[in-house]
Amino acid sequence: MSTTAAPAPAPAARSLDAARVRADFPILSRTVRGKPLVYLDNAATSQKPRAVIEAVTRYYTAENANIHRGVHFLSERATEAYDAARAAAARFLGAGDSREVLFTRGTTEGINLVAQSYARTNLRPGDEILITAMEHHSNIVPWQIVAQQTGAIVRAAPIGDDGELDLDAFASLLTHRTRLVALVHLSNALGTINPVRRIADLAHAAGAVVLVDGAQSAAHLGVDVGALDCDFFACSGHKMYGPTGIGLLFGRAELLERMPPWQGGGDMIESVTLEASTWAPIPGKFEAGTPAIAEVAGLGAALEYLDSLGLDAAAAWEGELLEYATQQIAAVDGVRIIGTARDKASVLSFTMDGVHPHDIGTILDDDGIAIRAGHHCAQPVMRRFRIPATARASFAVYNTMDEVDALIASLQRVRSVLG
């Protein structure tokens, strides 16, 4: 374990002991194809610490009940826990008011909610939605759908060869017709960190609202929606050490209050007659039906876990891993890094001359190393770089320098097998 490479303990920031962190994640002690698992597919989904697994198990073992409707002991307890998780999520995102945090199924659902509730109501023919050329499909397609429904137009600001957003081009695409700007905080395909605050300032000056896709950033950069000054921020529990099927959507209260519900059902109403209904106040208005209560319990535990590690310490460690991997991979013949922005985090996307990423993925897998090979749900990015796919190693707080070495050794094996 290369724990000696961890930053020296500073009085202000907690340093991180990767070996101790690893012990919190049961799956990391398993083997794959007879080799110790080296899990470098964290941008797809992160592994779960014992605290999260136990919170979900505890809920089903000892606490299971529906929320907001029971007069009995368990329902009261479940409701309290659910509301407490929302308050914890609000603190995690830097939202001043927990009514501004909605539980969703994930980033994708959060973006679709904003598209179908906010955008569909507010966009008129000829209005523009401005996105970037580095977006994940889930921050492209929902806007294309709502554009079809409203007559609005989706425009995309280009990116440079280094995978950075072209800010000048962005600024010139931002006009009085732009009603909504939607962009990724940390690109899953390139690792680029976007200057969200600057963009939000520009967008607000033009009269547009700003949605940030925080799927990758929430666990790897830390989020403060106040400092980012975004109007909406969507993220996924399963990429931040929490369960699948649960996510968060932050929305400014004054916007959420004016938005119509996007799904109707139980729990989101104030009163229902056979003729008409009125809606519950936010956030309930946007949470129709029995929510993912167990997943919320798990997400609450994940946020607590992240808090105990210290997001700054986690981000600093991941930064060291990325820097080391970026240096080491240069020694592998024919490797080209896709995404060389100055401001990057946790994602190392690359191609290898004459070798398709799928073949890289299969040989790495044979060595117990899990990476992603493909277009990463970002086909426009692949087209921009004129490649069909990339191989992508993505880091999390429990990865080690030894694992980076294993990755590099396995890439050398890819070279020797495939020439």
């Binding site: 004459g354 070798v355 398709h356 990423p357 799928h358 073949d359 299969t362 040989i363 044979d366 090979a373 493909g374 277009h375 086909q379 692949m382 069909p388 796919a389 097998v417 495939l418 020439g419």
Partner: protein, 152 residues
């Protein structure tokens, strides 16, 4: 032999590096596009049919070593075969890569037997079979009409 060297047999690596029949066919009378939306692999297969007989086969596209080698060996294997013979070959090939072909039948596939290692890698089965599915779509396409054959 490790499963990796069984997957990437030298015949496969050779056909990946220098695929046979890798060209656009100007005088073909059947064509189809194949695509694996999961990984972005795509290829086009052209056929020249003379009645029931496949006179010529060619392909172009981008894909991994398994799919390129498979397209190369497939276009070689189906040339000169009749439509039912080629369809029967596809069936046997598909059973090979999904691990359902009895061991004593493997040799009957000739060079295509080099894909026996694929069955140990279920996610790679689509790579090996994409060219064949596309070939089948081309066979079924009315003359001159390109057929999309997405493999989900």
């Amino acid at each position: 032999m490790s499963s990796i060297s069984e997957l990437y047999q030298s015949v496969i690596l050779d056909h990946n590096r220098s695929p046979k029949n890798y060209r656009r066919m100007a005088d073909g009378n059947c064509t189809a596009n194949g695509r694996n939306p999961l990984c972005g692999d795509e290829l086009t297969v052209w056929l020249k049919l003379d009645g029931e007989r496949i006179e010529d086969a060619a392909f172009e596209g981008s894909g991994c070593a398994i799919s390129r080698a498979s397209a190369s060996l497939m276009t070689t294997a189906v040339k000169g075969k009749t439509r039912p013979e080629a369809e029967e070959l596809f069936d046997r090939f598909h059973r090979l890569v999904t691990g359902r072909l009895p061991g004593d039948e493997v040799a009957s596939l000739g060079k295509l037997a080099v894909f026996s290692g694929v069955s140990a890698y279920p996610v790679r089965v689509k790579c090996a079979s994409l060219p064949w599915h596309t070939f089948k779509a081309a066979l079924d396409a009315p003359a001159g009409a390109a057929r999309q054959q997405p493999i989900a």
